[in-house]
Structure formats: structure tokens, C-alpha cells
Amino acid sequence: MAVIEVKNLKKSFANVEAVKGLSFEVKEGEIFGLLGPNGAGKTTTLEILEGLKDPDSGEVKIFNHEGNSASARDKIGIVLQQSGFFEYLTIEELLRLFASFYKKTVPLADLIEQFELGKILHSRYHELSGGQKQRFVLAIALIHQPKLLFLDEPTIGLDPQVRQKFWDIIINLQENGMTIILTTHYMEEAEILCDRVAIIDKGKIIASDRPVKLINSLGIVSRIKFMSSKPINVAELEDLSGVLNARRDRYTYDLETDKPEVALRELLEWEKQYNGKIFNLQVQQATLEDVFLKLTGHSLGE
């Protein structure tokens, strides 16, 4: 069953078309990712679904109701990209305040235990670390036991350890039946968390499927990356057996391959007759980043 249905969604700001006719569905119990670089239209799309922005045109259905209706709002939990709270209140007071907005809530003691908020109950939001803030923001979003959770760039600015802990919480929520839609520009995050992703670039969905399926559709298994002490003619590298494609990005050479062991052996053989030196050699599995690069011709950071 589709929890969210989006058809031909469009939104412009002044002269900029931020969302150009997006259509997708999010099924019950899945984690669905909107993936793309900054400015791709992910947050605008999510904010339309959250009821923060009105679309110019298109159709949004959440739990079979038009848009973000009042009845749907009780079933939705939201983690905004940036959340602010009254600065003179403690975490405990904020939890009680937000709980008062809903008819039904989780017992606060359970929430405090689940998100390890016990030690920070008397602190104020601006005094918390990044990880503590994120746990608190998530607790606030889940205070009324929603069935659907929106996460807008939930791990931006967090260190890797905190990020991984956050992923554990999200996976645990899904195991308990939560449907989750998240935006991220971290490909690794999308690969680990998402059952399906829609890759967005310049306001359009350019691909949508399971992450593994999208990666496999590239036909490449891995990429071999290295740096060189002297410039190398990229055509020479493309002639190596097992190499599908070679490119140079400033000082780094990047070989796409469907037979990594063959390509690596060939490269090391070739190095013997090469009068320079290659270093920082890495073999990497293909990722969603490769999918994005292949489809758009530019990387996520560009």
C-alpha cells in the first residue's frame, strides 16, 4: 500500500524552477530516499509533503488524503533540516510542551530511555552536542507515535560515529513498522538505509529503484583509483584489459571495471614499463555516487 503518492509535482521560486514535475510513491514500511546534491529540489519536495510549502501544481496524497491534512498530521513525525526550540526552556520542558500538542503520546519516560535523554533533561537545546541534538529532535518527532517519518538531511554535520548510531535508530524504527522518507546527499547513507531511492538532479528524478539495482545497472562492479607522479595518457589506461572507462580528475586517475582483479593485475604490469610511480592505489565497489556521475556527468559535490 502506498503511504505517499506524488504526481507531477512542480514548484518555482521567482525565476527558478526548483521542482519540475516529480512523481513517486512511498510504500508502507519502507525507507525511501530522495538523493541528490544541494539545490536539487529534495528539501523543497519534502517541505511540500510536510505542508510547509504549497506546490504550484501536481498532486500529493498522504495516507490517501489530499496533501498534508490535519488528520494526516497526527500520523506524521518530522525532522527538519534545521530545528529551533525556545532557548529558555530545558529539554524536559520542551518534551512536555511538544507532548501537549498531541492527543496521544508515548510515555515520556519511555522516550527518554529510548533516546538516552536522561542526562540532558535539565540542559537547554543550544548546550547539546550534535549527536544529543539529533537524538532529541528525533524524540520530539516521534513523541506522538507517528506512522510516517520525514527526515530532511538528518545526519548533516554529524561525525561518522554519531551518524552510524543514528542509522541504527532509523533501522530499528523501520523494523517496528515505521515508513520513512529521507533526503540526503550522502550516498553511503542512502545505500545503507534506503530500500528504494529517487535520484534527483536539477528538480527532476533521473533514476529511481533499489540502490543495488541502480548500481548493478551501471555494468561496472568496481573502480580503481590512484595518483601518479607524472601525467598519464588516459587512452593508455583505457587499453588495459578489464578497464571499461578511464578518467582523470586533477591528480587522481579513476578506472571503471567489471573485472577488478584482471584490471588491477594489468595496471601493475603496465606500471613496470612506466617511468613514473603510481601511489594511493585503491579498489572501490561501485556506489550510488557512480550512478549519479554516470547519469548526470557531474559528481554530487559539483
Binding site: 510536510e50 505542508g51 510547509l52 510549502k53 490535519a70 498530521r73 497526527d74 506524521i76 518530522i78 527538519l80 534545521q82 530545528s83 529551533g84 526550540f85 525556545f86 532557548e87 529558555y88 526552556l89 520542558e93 512536555r96 510542551l97 511538544f98 501537549s100 500538542f101 498531541y102 520530539i140
Partner: protein, 247 residues
Amino acid sequence: MNLLVLTFLKIFFRNRRAIFFVLLLPAGIFLILSFMRVEQIIQFDIGLPYTDFLLAGIMAYAIMQMGIYTVSYSFIDYRKQTVLKRLSVTPLSSKQFLQAHSVARFIVALIQVALLFGIGMIAFGSRPSGSIWFLPLVILLGSVAFLNFGYVISSLARDYEEAAPYTAIVGLGLGFLGDVFFPVANLPIFLQNIAQILPMAALSGAMRYSLYGIQGEQFVYNLLVLTGWFILGTAAANAIFAKRAYK
């Protein structure tokens, strides 16, 4: 809703700057002007000691200042710090938010008036001799009328820089024409006519009647002016705040 009112009161009383500007500064202005004996340099003949005249005026001025200045800036902070955005994705409506805030600030206004009157009684022997039971109604109408100015300014201004001229123009204009420091009868007729339809002079006059029983013939008119600003201002503030700030 009750918890939100309590929350706004907590926020106010934990903010030392707000306490200074809303409670202490008006008391200080009242004391300074009373000791300066301003009545010797202005024409003053309304059958009331100048300190009593000033006390009621300062009460109205303090209520205006709380509504326009402190609310404008704190609400801009709420918007910029995405506090309003976070609240807007809960079932709490913008109307409920403003209602709770208005109730909390009405309570603060009652405290303001009580504090000022306490100072007036102790320092200058001021005694209530009017229809004091009207006072809560007058304070309610006046405080909400001025809070609405603050809600509108904070919704229209992008930041402090933009809010500053709005608050200055509105605050100074209302203060000057407000029957606060001197009777508006001293002003040219056309300014008196303008003052009569503004909420500031209406609030000062209604306060004086409630506290000291003077200007009774104007009281009903003053209440009508305040009620008009209360109703129209609330409608405008709700609409503008919902459209421009609470999202």
C-alpha cells in the same frame, strides 16, 4: 494551551533583558520624570496631580512598549531560529500560538501595572479613586491591541535592521500622541484628532478613568477605540502571522 501560556511566562521571566525593558525600565522612567517635576514646564490642568497623570500614562506606555518592541524582536528570533517552523509542523495552529502568547503577555501587563501602581503608592502616595474593576478589561484590550502591532511588524520585517525603523516610527508616534507625558489637549487640533483614533491615547485615558475616575465622559469612546483595535488588529495579526511567519 495552558501549558503553552505557562511556557511563554517562563520564557519571559527567565529572560533578564525582557524583565529589564518591560518591568524595570518603565518604573525607572516614571521615577525620573516624577522627580523632574515636568508639570512646571508644561501646561497641565486636568484636576489630577502630575504624578498620577504620569503614572497612568506610563502604565499605558509600558504596555505599548511590551507589545511593540519586545515582541517584534523576540518573534524575529523565533522565526530566524526556525522555532516557528518546527511548531508549524505540529497540530498547534498559528492562531493558538498567538492566543497563548497574548494571554501570557496580558498576565505580564497586569504585573507591570501592579508594580507601577505599587511604586506610585509608596513613593508618591497615589491612591485609586476610580472604577478600578474596569482595569483588567482595559489592560486586556490595550495589551492585545499593542501585541498585534508586534506580531505584524515581526511578520513583515525580515530582520532586526528592518524591524528597527518600523518599531521606532510606530512607538514614537504612539508615544507622542499617547496622552502619556503631557495631555494631548496641548497639541494642535489636527494632532488631537489623530490621537483620538489611536489606541495609545485611548488606553491612557481609560487607565486614568479606571484608576482615578477622571475623563469619564471619554471612557466609553476610549473602550470602543480599544475594542476596535483589538478586533481588527487580531484579525490582521492572525492573517499576516500565519501567511508570513508561522511556516
